[in-house]
Structure formats: structure tokens, C-alpha cells
């Protein structure tokens, strides 16, 4: 068996059913701050991205305010996501079994998890969401600063800004797509949302989706 699959704060409470603590309060708050900023960013960003959605500026009190708020939310998102990153990156490191898991995507989609290798705290899909988001947010904040004219207008050439604005919007699109996958997965795999709300999952959930994590918790391997 390779490294431990357990985070500080994860623990098992035997009983019927078994309850497993998956996320600490801090982790959950951190996650939801990130989530909310991301949604706001997507809305304000899309409003400025395409005239079809310009009406969304209404949510932020008009075009001027949307233009002012968007980059600041971006900053919040970036910092908050940094928190998540250092919280989660260890258990998101890629393993050989993850590749096997990925190669059996058909079984994944068909809910045939017994045919898959046992999964630790995070499965390969979650890990991919984690790493792609990390990358995208880095790209977005960087390109965002380049086009943040009010404060950084004089530091970049117009050509640089043109490149930046293109990268920024393209990346944002992809990020939104990944976010959709993330949200859908949480809905599709029942019992998951509770992990981020109450911080707890049932033993059965853990057994079904993250058996290696559960075993490590039980064997106290940590």
C-alpha cells in the first residue's frame, strides 16, 4: 500500500450507519467562499464577455460597477483558492491507480464502481478538476491584472493587453466548463453535497466511492 489517504480531521464514527467526517469547518468555509466568488465572477465576466448577457450587469448595479467589482472578486477568489490549494494538494497528487481509473471512464459513467480500483480520498476526476482549476485561476489572475487598466493600465502595452484579454476570456470559458463538471458530479453522486455542507458522509458512501480512504481511516493508517 502506498502513502496514507487520510487528512487531519478525517475520522470514523462507528454505528448505524457509520458516519465519516470528511471536511473540517475551515475547509468548508474556504470552499464556499471560493465557490461563491467563482459564480459571481462567471456572471460578471460573462456580462462583459458577450452583449447577449450584458443584462447580467444589472445584478451588480450596472456596467460601471460590474467593471469595478469583477477584478476585486477575482482577487478574493485567488486568495481563497490558494487556501484550498495548500489544504488539498497533497491528497490530489497523481497515482498510478488514477490512470487506471481514468482508463475505465465508461464504468465510471455507468456507476460500475466495483469494477474500478479502490479510490483514496479523491478519485482521478476530482484530482483533474483540482489541478485544472489551479492552473486556470493562475492564468486568469495573471491575465486579469494585465487588463486591469484602472490600476495597471500603464504597465502593459496595448498588444500585451489584447493577448491577455483573449487568454482571459478563453480560459474563463474552459474554467466554467470544468466547474459545471464539478457541480454535476456532486449532484450525480448522491450523498456528496453533505460532505461540503455538514462535513460528514455515511460509511456506505465512503465504502462505495473512496474505499481506500475509509480503510486507511479504520486501520488508523495515518
Amino acid at each position: 500500500m502506498s502513502k496514507s489517504e487520510v487528512d487531519a480531521g478525517d475520522s470514523v464514527h462507528p454505528g448505524k450507519p457509520v458516519i465519516v467526517d470528511r471536511y473540517t469547518v475551515a475547509a468548508r468555509i474556504n470552499h464556499w467562499i471560493t465557490a461563491v466568488s467563482l459564480v459571481l465572477l462567471a456572471l460578471s465576466g460573462l456580462a462583459l464577455f458577450t452583449p447577449a448577457l450584458y443584462f447580467l450587469t444589472g445584478l451588480f448595479g450596472g456596467g460601471q460597477l460590474t467593471r469595478i467589482i469583477h477584478p476585486w472578486i477575482g482577487v478574493v477568489l485567488f486568495l481563497s483558492f490558494m487556501g484550498l490549494f495548500f489544504r488539498f494538494f497533497r491528497l490530489n497528487l497523481w497515482e498510478r491507480t488514477d490512470s487506471v481509473w481514468m482508463s475505465r471512464m465508461r464504468d465510471v459513467l455507468a456507476n460500475e464502481e466495483n469494477k474500478l480500483p479502490e479510490v483514496g480520498k479523491y478519485n482521478a476526476g476530482q484530482k483533474m478538476v483540482f489541478w485544472s482549476m489551479s492552473l486556470f485561476i493562475l492564468v486568469l489572475i495573471t491575465s486579469g491584472v494585465v487588463i486591469w487598466d484602472q490600476y495597471f493600465g500603464n504597465y502593459f502595452t496595448i498588444e500585451q493587453k489584447r493577448i491577455a484579454v483573449l487568454i482571459h476570456s478563453a480560459t474563463a470559458i474552459v474554467a466554467i466548463c470544468v466547474w459545471i463538471v464539478h457541480v454535476y458530479a456532486a449532484i450525480w453522486v448522491r450523498g456528496t453535497i453533505g460532505a461540503m455542507t455538514r462535513g460528514k458522509v455515511t460509511g456506505g458512501w465512503a465504502w462505495r466511492h473512496h474505499r481506500r480512504w475509509l480503510k486507511d481511516l479504520v486501520t488508523g493508517k495515518n
Partner: protein
Amino acid sequence: MFTPVPNPTTNPVAAKFGQQDLIRRSASSVTAPAKRQTEVAKLIDVSKCIGCKACQVACLEWNNLTEEVGVNVGVYDNPHDLTANTWTLMRYTEYENAESGNLEWLIRKDGCMHCEDPGCLKACPAPGAIVQYSNGIVDFDHDKCIGCGYCIKGCPFNIPRISQVDQKAYKCSLCSDRLAVGQGPACAKACPTQAIVFGTKDEMKQWADHRIKDLKSRGFKNAGLYDPPGVGGTHVMYVLQHADKPQIYAGLPNNPSISPLVEVWKGVTKYVGLAAIGAFAAFGFLHHAVAGANRVTAEDEKNAERLTEGQR
């Protein structure tokens, strides 16, 4: 002498053009007017310009703009660049003509070119913040401007500037308020040597030919008109002594056009992006319908309990 437009009247005059003459409107569509108005143009004859800056002052005064008093940095160009208050600016270049061996002091009046295909308007995300009238004027509506600075990225001539005061974009309006009552732009009226003249675009091209003939007779064999096709032509045109190399005139673009980056960003990206988002969402629903939810079974719970029994 290009016959000047007669003096203005102080009696109210009905506007000669307005909303009904819009042919383009940023981030929105307009129903094009049945009949397009005669296109107007400003012709700037660099070979006649004495760089006196009367146009700069006239622009400030007419548009009630107040620019700050700056400093001298070793050149005649003051202010040193266009600003939210300086909509037009003389740019001075000392050019040593290798062929003739003469020094030439090229003085170009910089400012909005009023492109037929305006990059600023294309880039603008705020509906109606930038409009184009059928007579060729590209104008900013500051009530609608959100100050995002996309127009700056869209402009091939680096003209619009964002005000540090109200964070809105500003540039030459071709004195749309004067044109509306049949006057010409303030800069053209002031120009002491008629290096700036204003009229219909056809008249201006005609007048330019007349000027180019004179320049050729004085040995400027490459004299010509600057009306760049890359932006569909402009409603501010230059007569250049060396039309073969516009860039020597303080970096006037040789062959300006809207940056491909901007085209891609405002074009394909917009549609592909929305499509992708839609597709992903759709996939979710489809999959849920087909595969259904992934539920934890009683079996799973049992296994979990079994696994944890030893703990008790």
C-alpha cells in the same frame, strides 16, 4: 483657399442628424437608416501644417476641456500624449531626407480617425456606448460608457483614453455638436493655414488630389492620400509628402486594421465559448437521464459497518 463654412448662428437650429442616422451601435444592433447621409471627412494636410497647435487649443475651448500644465521634456509635443482631455495633439518628427539631403520637420495632428470599420466600437461591451452615424462620425456616449478600456484595445491607432476622474473613455467626436448644426469641427475652423479642411468625403479626396499635384511639382514624388483600406477607409484623412512611408510621421500605422486578436476575441471565442458551456451543461442532464443518480446502497453501508466493527 478652401471656402470656409459660414459663421455659426446663435438661433436654435434643428439637428441635421441624430439617432435615426445610426449605422452601428456597440454591443447591440440598429436598423440601418433607409438612406445613408453624405459621408463627411476631415483632411489634414501635413505639408501645410506649421505645428502652431491652434487646433489643440480650439479643441480644448470648444469642448470645455481643461488640460493640466505639464513640463518640457525636450520636445515641442505638449501635452506629451493624448489624454482624456487632449483629443488632438501635434506630433513633431525631425526627418533627414536621405534623397534630398534636406531636413524635414514633419508635424502630424494626431487624433481619432473615425474609421469606417471602427475597432473601438467592435470591442465595446456596453450597448450604445459607441455609435457610428451614417455620415461617418464615430462618437462616444459617456452615459453608457463603463470604462472597461476595451475600445483602447480595439483601436488600431491608439486613440481613446480613459479619464482618471470618471473612468470613462474619451476621444475626438469630430465636433458632432457643431456638425449637427452645419458647422465644421472647431480644429478645422481654427487652422491658420487650412492644413485642416472639412467637407464631404468626396470633396476632401478632390481637394487632396489638388494638393498632391502641388507637392509632386515640388519634388515629393511619393506624395499621396492616407485613407487606409484596412479599416474600410477613414473620415479623417492625411495628405502626406511621403505616403509610401506613413510610419515616419510619428508612427502612423503603415497599413492599420483591427488586431486579429481582437477579431478572434470578439468573434469566434464568443460563440464557441457559449456553445461549450451549453454543451457541458447539456451533457450533465443527458447523463443523469440515462445513467441516473449514483446512490449508496444498503449493501455499502453494511460493508462499512462490518469494516468498522473491530473498532468497538
